[in-house]
């Protein structure tokens, strides 16, 4: 057995050495030999007996955590364990919006960290994640939204997040397909983040996976964690469908399945799993070069590089693990968007799906140590998971390596007992 392990190790070392850099030149060279020379993007090893760190969950957040553990903290004896296929959860089932125009300081900090890392991610990872800073605008369609976004713009200016409140004329200039003078909800302005945008969601997971593999980390797919081993209040390893694996530190980064893992580790989470809806239209020629969020009508809209109009909508209000949402949420989103973007009416819905998102009591994430020593949790991203991936990974890696991180300190589990919430849904109140 030991011998076999050593062999696996050798092979992986070998493939690390042969990992090819991606470039136009490399593509041209490979074209000459019909692409027969491309290596695997990441290795598929069997698990070793023990690691310094095990990350459970090979979605964007888990892989990013592993990547920054290696890159920023020199910890590379790491395994990332995945029940299914890497990037197969919410990383690959979201509307790919990236923005950091959040109101509260801790949110703005971690999302802006993420956004700025997206700017250079393709170069960092040598994998084109197609970050497209086409600009994100959040439409103000009521007086209270105007006030809310003016406040956000003020906060962002102090938080180092570049946003501005723009006029309806500027909105129209940036997004010609919008109907400004809707009889019901005229567009009164927008909060504009010029360097927000989108990225190719799968590529983010694949790029991190390739880079982690390149650093010698093991990404172990099709491996389900069935138990958490502990001794004297410290985590010692995990039981998996591919055997027991020991570790010194454990990071649980499994989004909607966090409750199940927490249960194994012996603590409870203020988290509920619910379905979030999204849909895309058939592809059309480019007609919109910005990302639109219309909160009054609960709709998010962008156009993918393929030409599909990507539409995100509301969440169900009940616990659900089926990855199927209820149709009426899609309906509500579509009818609202059609009013502000009349051209959508004559497009067709190509595909509709649901993702399971984990929602906390204040709708902000949890990046925290846990009652179990050496065990850390990263969950509760709700509908904001994709945009935060690199920031979340950066902060989580620091938290796991050093025990604390300015990016994550406000997102601890203790905040619920103390009443110290991070509530981004403020200013949504309608009164008078």
């Amino acid at each position: 057995m030991a011998q076999k392990d050593a062999k696996v190790q050798d092979l992986s070392q070998e493939s690390v050495m042969f990992m090819k850099r991606y470039s136009a030149f490399a593509v041209a060279r490979e074209a000459a030999r019909y692409h027969s020379g491309w290596e695997r993007a990441w290795r598929s090893p069997m698990p070793k007996k023990s690691y310094d760190v095990i990350i459970v969950g090979a979605g964007g957040h888990g892989l990013a955590t592993a990547y920054y553990l290696g890159k920023n903290h020199g910890i590379t004896n790491v395994a990332v364990i995945e029940k299914g296929w890497l990037g197969g959860g919410n990383t690959g089932r979201n509307t790919t919006i990236i923005r950091s125009n959040y109101l509260q300081d801790p949110s703005a900090a971690i999302f802006e960290k993420a956004r700025s890392l997206y700017e250079t991610m393709s170069q960092d990872l040598n994998y084109n994640v197609m970050f497209s800073p086409r600009g994100v605008m959040m439409l103000a369609q009521t007086q209270s939204e105007i006030r809310g976004y003016l406040r956000t713009a003020q906060a962002n200016a102090l938080q180092g997040v570049k946003t501005e409140f723009i006029t309806p004329a500027r909105v129209k200039e940036l997004c010609p397909i919008i109907e400004l003078s809707g009889p019901r909800y005229p567009v009164l302005g927008a909060l504009w983040q010029e360097r927000g945008g989108t990225a190719r969601h799968d590529a983010v997971a694949w790029g991190y996976a390739r880079a982690c593999s390149d650093m010698g980390m093991d990404i172990i797919q099709q491996c389900e964690v069935t138990g958490v081993d502990q001794a004297d209040g410290q985590v010692t390893g995990v039981k998996t469908t591919k055997g027991d694996i020991a570790c010194k530190k454990l990071g649980v980064v499994v989004a909607g399945h966090s409750g199940v893992l927490a249960d194994m580790a012996g603590f409870r989470l203020p988290v509920e799993s619910i379905a979030l809806q999204a849909l895309v239209s058939e592809p059309i020629k480019p007609c919109m070069d910005v990302v639109i969020m219309a909160n009054t009508v609960h709709g998010y809209l962008s156009q993918s590089d393929k030409g599909e109009m990507v539409i995100g909508g509301g969440t169900d209000g009940f616990n659900n693990y089926t990855q199927r949402g209820s149709f009426h949420h899609a309906e509500e989103t579509v009818r609202a968007l059609v009013e502000t973007f009349p051209m959508l009416s004559r497009l067709k819905m190509l595909r509709q799906w649901g993702g399971i998102v984990d929602m906390t009591g204040d709708r902000s994430p949890i990046l925290s140590s846990t009652p179990l020593g050496g065990c850390f949790i990263n969950c509760g991203w709700g509908t904001g998971g994709f945009k935060s991936i690199p920031g979340s990974g950066w902060g989580m890696a620091e938290l796991m390596a050093k025990g604390s991180s300015p990016l994550t300190d406000a997102f601890g589990l203790n905040r619920f007992a103390e009443g110290r919430f991070i509530d981004e849904s403020v200013a949504a109140g309608v009164a008078h």
């Binding site: 695997r40 197609m130 938080q159 030409g307 051209m343 009443g419 309608v430």
Partner: protein
């Protein structure tokens, strides 16, 4: 040359010619044509360009699976991209344009990509365009985006309308082919309430083309008599042009009815979206033929074998004089036979199998058709249309044995059951090795609310390819569904069809078997998205092993046909590359809808004036007719200000403020919530709801109260009036009316259900008008009827009476600091009462005022506004409202929460007034800063502005805000930066800046 045959097809009415246009060219078709059949009849082989390489594309299929023939259709408000020609019924004046090319379909500059194909394999963009960094956004991405996409984006507002329709049935049968008809009949005869839907306008499905005999009669006769039998059953409804689009949880199915797509000038909705609740769903959705993968299989003229005979039989269209059939199964022989029967030439059937001896094979031999076994296509000749094929052995690497000239290649790689609807809600599949197809696993069905199976699959969709088995299976499915839905099936026997001998098909995933890379790079799997065999193999080579990875890496099956033709072939290629069995590699998830459905239909009737309910007060119309600038508040439109001619909104507000302070203002306050709370425990209950003590309020009196969430945060506020010992009337904010009523009912029903309290939301029973200003009493006295003097109706009391002949309830409350009455009259008299006030008020300088004036007046008095001073993170203590929090009460909602460490923290920001040193108006939402930055490099903040206005009364800016240790720092000057970084020096002051002693409201 593609032409119309002398004998028009079964769906064509040759007496009714129709004119249409394609790319501006005027063409003729017949009633009954699809756009696709009409184009083929006019020899239009080239219909579009592919997504990535801009390869010439022709029609491949005859139904919903068509990947290529997508058109821009219509003009102006009826323009729509990506219309599938094979499912578009031809109508007079139809105008179609092909997509994805420039400058023209025949000469497309983008076709250069096809020569670069070698450099653009699967996932090439992940490996390229990485440097220099700004180039992705500004150079590469725009080029990729421009060449991607398909149809043109619509520009105009949709001129058609749409609607929804709800129905509840015992059994929904999806699909009007033989299986669907028999299933519906069996279920209907059992007494179940049945809805049978068919996506086309034609009943009978493939059997109408492929023939056969049922109970000794031609199948067409059986179809006709079954339709009649169904129509005779009162409990069965059948609808055509109605597609089963999706199956959702608990028996919810979506139906997409194309009511007027084929008659666009008719009145009525274009589409109707059916929301069907079915106890049981039978999907008899047939199967889709698979293409074969060989070099050049994307050249126009290479078509599915079944489509070639569909066009001949249904539409009388010959796609070409000479058709080479290439197959791995018996079914494609039907095409050869149909071509021969139509008088066309079939130079050869190339059968990849070593041998076959089924009935159809024998029939082909009998007809003298040349059969070549063990053969494959080495390459298709031609560019924009097929000119011939090069033939090779299936075993081997493709050495050319012969060449055959032809115009059409009819290919068949076997059939894939349409299992989409089965799978939408979790039905699982098994791989059938013999037939090489995924079939529904009846032991793992989608389940409904009761945990029982809710979908049954019938006929070909269930994997039964021959007519007799289809009938038996469908009959059983119909009976089972009826039984599961609560009916008693009859024991009637299913009709029978003669059994045919079929020789087994043989899996052929690549032609020839050992095709070298140059051939694999020309063997298409996904025609629309340009995914080839070599792409899937590359994905496997690079470790994208899961089918989901491969799909996403190569874009296989992600096109508008959602992989109807490509998924299984791609999966098979992947599994070969991974040396794994197909079921091990898995299948992908099927997501609704089955084929794309219009957003218009999803939005339904909700557009224009019925987009959303607009709530109206009894005075709404008057408001809008008198200059109200509408402000959406919830679903109401409240007047922001009443703007007079020649005035800006800002000027209107200033006028309203001054007039109300100096003369008389009227506010339509009807939107404020009014909730009756009654019962012996009403006082006890309100003591829990409000932070104040309400049980001690005396009848006839009013008290301002605060409502908190159980989490401690301020939720709503308003004046509570005690009507009698048992009865209170609680005013809420406009947005709070429904919310607070629901909040009360929730606690009453789920926590204190033994308390004797009833509530009723009577918000809309009354029009409520605030009569405000020094002249308020005068106007009421002029109208006369009740004593509204200080003595009879002191501040914070209420009384019932008559004013100006109107039954009313008058509340002596003020949110402005002025002498003020809020008068409630029945809503039916609201407008009349308002008119009376306006008329009587003329001599007192009456003017209506809007919400902005309301805001300014209250801000001058330091009154908080829910939604401004509170935002869901603020507790009453932050707003110095301790006086409204009872210390005597043991408990109220939010009390425990407010004791938590962070809420009791003395460093919480607290409410103060803010006064700029230069008198300017502070920006909305501005923050107060301190020196330095926090650990994340963000500027330290110590407060924020919650309300800021220009006060016409004081002729300067006024504001309130929350500031760290604010109330202890009166007089201190703070720094408040604007977004441009400049600082506004601002002094901390008392929030009450107008009439500090409250003399004006208490006269």
């Amino acid at each position: 040359m593609s032409t119309r045959l002398p004998n028009a097809g079964r769906l064509i009415d040759a007496s009714k010619q129709i004119e249409f246009s394609f790319n501006g060219k005027r063409l003729k078709g017949y009633e009954g044509d699809t756009l696709a059949s009409a184009l083929l009849a006019n020899d239009q082989m080239l219909v579009g360009r592919s997504f990535k390489y801009h390869r010439p594309r022709g029609i491949v299929a005859s139904g919903a699976e068509e990947p290529n023939a997508l058109m821009n259709m219509g003009e102006g408000g009826q323009f729509e991209p990506n219309q599938r020609a094979t499912t578009t019924e031809l109508f007079d004046g139809l105008a179609a344009k092909s997509q994805n090319h420039w400058p023209s379909l025949d000469f497309d500059v983008g076709a250069i990509n096809t020569h670069l194909a070698r450099f653009l394999p699967a996932g090439f963009y992940y490996k390229m365009f990485i440097h220099p960094r700004p180039f992705w956004k500004h150079v590469y991405e725009p080029i990729i985006r421009k060449s991607a996409g398909l149809g043109r984006a619509p520009k105009d507002r949709d001129q058609d309308r749409y609607e929804h329709f709800y129905t509840f049935v015992d059994v929904l049968v999806v699909g009007g082919g033989v299986a669907g008809l028999q299933a519906a009949l069996a279920a209907g005869q059992s007494g179940a309430n049945v809805l049978l839907i068919e996506q086309t306008a034609d009943w009978g499905g493939r059997a109408q083309v492929d023939g056969g005999e049922v109970d000794g009669k031609p199948v067409a006769d059986w179809i006709a008599s079954t339709l009649k039998a169904l129509d005779d059953l009162p409990n069965v409804t059948r609808r055509d042009r109605l597609m089963g689009a999706g199956v959702y949880d608990h028996g919810y199915a979506l139906g997409y009815e194309r009511v007027n797509d084929h008659t666009p000038s008719n009145a009525g909705p274009r589409h109707r979206l059916w929301r069907i609740r079915a106890k049981q769903i039978v999907t008899a959705t047939g199967a889709i033929e698979r293409p074969l993968s060989f070099a050049g299989n994307d050249i126009p003229g290479v078509m599915l074998a079944s489509a070639v005979r569909d066009y001949a039989v249904n539409f009388g269209v010959s796609v070409g004089d000479r058709t080479v059939v290439v197959t791995n199964n018996d079914d494609a022989y039907l095409t050869a036979i149909a071509m021969k029967n139509a008088g066309l030439d079939v130079p050869a059937i190339l059968d990849a199998r070593a041998s076959a001896n089924g009935d159809l094979v024998q029939q082909a031999i009998d007809m003298g058709i040349r059969l070549e076994f063990g053969r494959a296509i080495a390459a298709v000749k031609g560019g924009k249309r097929v000119t011939g094929v090069k033939v090779c052995a299936q075993i081997g690497e493709g050495a050319v044995l012969s060449e055959i000239d032809c115009e059409v290649v009819a290919m068949s790689g076997g059939w894939s059951p349409v299992v989409h609807l089965w799978s939408h809600c979790g039905g699982k599949l098994n791989w059938d090795v013999e037939q090489q197809m995924f079939r529904p696993d009846a032991t793992r069905p989608p389940t409904s609310h009761d945990g029982e199976a809710m979908v049954t699959v019938a006929g070909i969709a269930n994997g039964y390819l021959d007519l007799n088995n289809v009938l038996q299976d469908a009959d059983q499915a119909g009976k089972n569904a009826a039984k599961a839905a609560g009916s008693k099936p009859k024991t009637a026997k299913a009709p029978t069809a003669s059994e045919a001998t079929i020789s087994p098909m043989e899996p052929v995933w690549l032609m020839p078997q050992g095709a070298p890379i140059k051939k694999r790079m020309k063997a298409w799997l996904d025609f629309q998205n340009d995914v080839k065999v070599s792409d899937v193999q590359l994905a496997a080579q690079e470790g994208y092993e899961s089918v989901e990875h491969t799909k996403r890496y190569t874009t296989l099956g992600m096109a508008t046909d959602q992989g109807k033709l490509s998924n299984i072939n791609g999966l098979a290629v992947l599994s070969k590359a991974l040396n794994a069995d197909i079921p091990q590699v898995g299948t992908t998830t099927f997501r609704p809808p089955y084929t794309p459905i219009s957003m218009g239909a999803i939005a339904g009737e909700a557009r224009g004036k019925v987009f959303q309910p607009l709530r109206r007060t009894p005075i709404h119309d008057w408001n809008m007719a008198n200059g109200a600038d509408p402000e959406p508040v919830g679903q109401w439109h409240r007047p922001f200000a009443y703007v007079e001619q020649g005035e800006t909104v800002h000027e209107a507000v200033n006028r309203e403020v001054l007039n109300t302070r100096q003369n008389l203002g009227l506010l339509d306050a009807s939107t404020l919530g009014k909730i009756i709370v009654k019962g012996p425990d009403a006082g006890k209950f309100l003591d829990m709801m409000y932070t104040n003590m309400m049980s001690s309020l005396k009848p006839g009196k009013c008290r301002y109260g605060l409502v908190c969430t159980e989490n401690g945060f301020l939720m709503d506020d308003g004046v509570v009036a005690r009507i009698d010992d048992d009865t209170y009337l609680c005013h809420t904010t406009t947005g709070g009316a429904d919310r607070i009523h629901a909040h009360m009912e929730e606690w009453l029903q789920t926590e204190w259900w033994d308390w004797k309290v009833y509530t009723a939301n009577v918000t809309e029973q009354f029009a409520q008008i605030a009569v405000v200003g020094p002249n308020a009493r005068k106007v009421l006295e002029k109208l006369g009827g009740m004593d509204v003097s200080k003595e009879a109706l002191p501040f914070m009391t209420w009384a019932d009476g008559i004013i100006g002949g109107f039954d009313c309830r008058a509340y002596r409350i003020s949110f402005s600091g002025e002498l003020s009455y809020e008068i409630a009259v029945p809503a039916s008299q609201g407008q009349a009462f308002w008119d009376a006030l306006i008329e009587a008020g003329q001599e007192f300088g009456v003017m209506p005022y809007g919400t902005e004036t309301l805001h300014i007046l209250r801000a001058e008095k330091g009154f908080i506004m829910i939604g401004d001073e509170s935002d869901g993170t603020v507790i009453p203590q932050d707003l110095n409202l301790q006086w409204a929090i009872s210390k005597k009460k043991e408990d109220f909602l939010g009390k425990r929460a407010q004791l938590r460490s962070h809420m009791a923290d003395p460093d919480r920001w607290k409410l103060v007034g803010l006064e700029t040193l230069d008198g300017s108006v502070l920006p909305d939402g501005a923050y107060v800063v301190a020196d330095g930055t926090n650990a994340n490099g963000q500027r330290n903040m110590i407060g924020r502005v919650t309300s800021t206005y220009y006060s016409a009364t004081l002729d300067r800016g006024i504001a309130m805000g929350l500031v760290l240790h604010g109330p202890d720092r009166m007089g201190e000057v703070l720094d408040i930066p604007k977004t441009d970084g400049t600082i506004i020096k601002t002094r901390i002051v008392d929030p009450v800046i107008y009439d500090k002693d409250g003399e004006k409201q208490n006269v």
